[in-house]
Symmetry: none
Subunit: 251 residues, 2 copies
DNA sequence: TGAACTATCTTTCATAATGAGTCATAACTA
DNA sequence: TAGTTATGACTCATTATGAAAGATAGTTCA
């Protein structure tokens, strides 16, 4: 095996799990301990990994997580996101909560002059270089994995803000209202609802009838729902009775 | 076999797997080692492949990321960042401002249990999946391109925070103090200085003697500087006189 | 806490692999 | 045919590798 090929493999293995033990590399790559040590030393010197006792950890942005998110978006989510983005008109101040569907909505917000408020790191990273969008990030404790800021600081920051529209996702919808799985997030989302003129819920049809840990708000708080045509007639009626406009996309 | 045909085959084989060992080419192409070497040398000179020890790698997609990753920050920044990260001990609450060097510092913060406060989107994205780091984002208006949150909201959010250490970068350092090019950012950075027990400045040696648009703070506000050995003795003396500890890395 | 133990690291050395250069010869071209 | 270019075998210098020994840093247990 060639030197660079071996080093590339080492880098790849390291990136996958964030950290690798030297022994594992010896076993997987099939070179001697000395050689692996020297390779790690080299990769450290060029700043690609960080040498630690017994192994090494990957430095640099792991692509994996971002890619995983992107591929996860189903056709339903894509379509819902697109329609939702169409509902938003230039000049609005849009509040986007964290979630895979809202991330897709953000992706579709092209060419419109907007003010966007969000507590989602992925969304912010996505929009940060769009010249037509004025981006305001709502800080706070960043919840791992999802990259959403929440907690007291987020609520506090939101108190001084105002948005013409909130686009939010949910863990589940029943006649009792909306649910979400993270108690802290619920706090932040409630505050979002308070400061927004209009609440647009993005929820694929599988969410109807689902409950999650924390009750977020009642259906009264929601103004419109964008969903796919998998939503049953019964649920449509529940929404109508609650005075919620439903926007259905066909997939 | 004709020369061009052989070279074309070599190129093809190299492209297929990204890497190819010289011996494999000798076997598959059926020419002598010397000839293959000369061919590789030629293909390298025209930029179609990259000659490496023991073989060659194709200059397409497969290998390019490895090469590209090699050079992302200057050696000085790398070394300064590494040393700075070493100064930070587990349990600290570190405030990281936005900047390319501080981003590198963030990269090197591996394995330490820390609380990190930052107003930089790139840093936050980098650290958001590190289990050992509790991340708090300082929200505000997100300045395009750099992805740094600043403005009144950032200052406000910082008011309620406290950090054991601030790691900050700068546009320039003179005997008058620190400078930065963005007036809004300066406001936020001043507040950062106020809430941090200790200020660690990361600045490569080229920054000494440089001025920028806005005056940020005096040298009194800085506790230590991590720089490279390009810093002249004169500047070292200025820092000593200001009571600043200088940490010099050799590049 | 401190001694014994273990894992990991650093250094060193001999060996193997690779590369650069030289030269004679074969193949091709004018 | 004479001159040019390509080829393959060879030598020597350089670099990479693996093994071993001693040093250092963590861990365990009394």
């Amino acid at each position: 095996m060639i030197v660079d090929e071996r080093r590339s493999r080492i880098l790849h293995i390291t990136e996958e799990s964030g950290f690798v033990a030297l022994h594992r590399l010896v076993a997987e790559v099939g070179a001697s301990e000395s050689t692996i040590r020297r390779d790690l030393e080299y990769l450290d010197s060029v700043g690609l990994i960080q040498r630690t006792r017994g192994g090494a950890s990957f430095l640099g942005d792991s692509q994996s997580d971002f890619d995983a998110r992107r591929s996860k978006a189903s056709v339903e989510k894509q379509q819902i996101a697109r329609r939702t983005a169409e509902l938003i008109v230039a000049g609005e101040t849009v509040l986007l909560d964290g979630g895979t569907t809202t991330l897709e909505v953000a992706r579709h917000l092209t060419g419109k002059s907007l003010q966007v408020l969000t507590n989602s790191l992925p969304i912010a990273s996505l929009l940060m270089n769009r010249a037509e969008i004025e981006l305001i990030f709502i800080g706070g404790y960043v919840y791992p994995k999802t990259g959403v800021a929440l907690g007291e600081q987020s609520v506090e920051a939101l108190r001084k803000m105002h948005a013409t529209r909130l686009v939010m996702s949910t863990g589940g919808v029943t006649a009792d209202g909306l649910f979400n799985s993270n108690a802290l997030l619920v706090e932040t989302e409630r505050q979002m609802i308070r400061v927004a003129d209009r609440v647009t819920l993005v929820a694929d049809s599988s969410k109807f009838g689902q409950r999650a840990l924390s009750h977020l708000c009642s259906l009264d708080d929601v103004d419109e729902i964008v969903t796919d045509n998998g939503m049953s007639g019964e649920w449509k009626k529940v929404m109508d009775d609650a005075g919620i406009r439903t926007e259905v996309v066909t997939v």
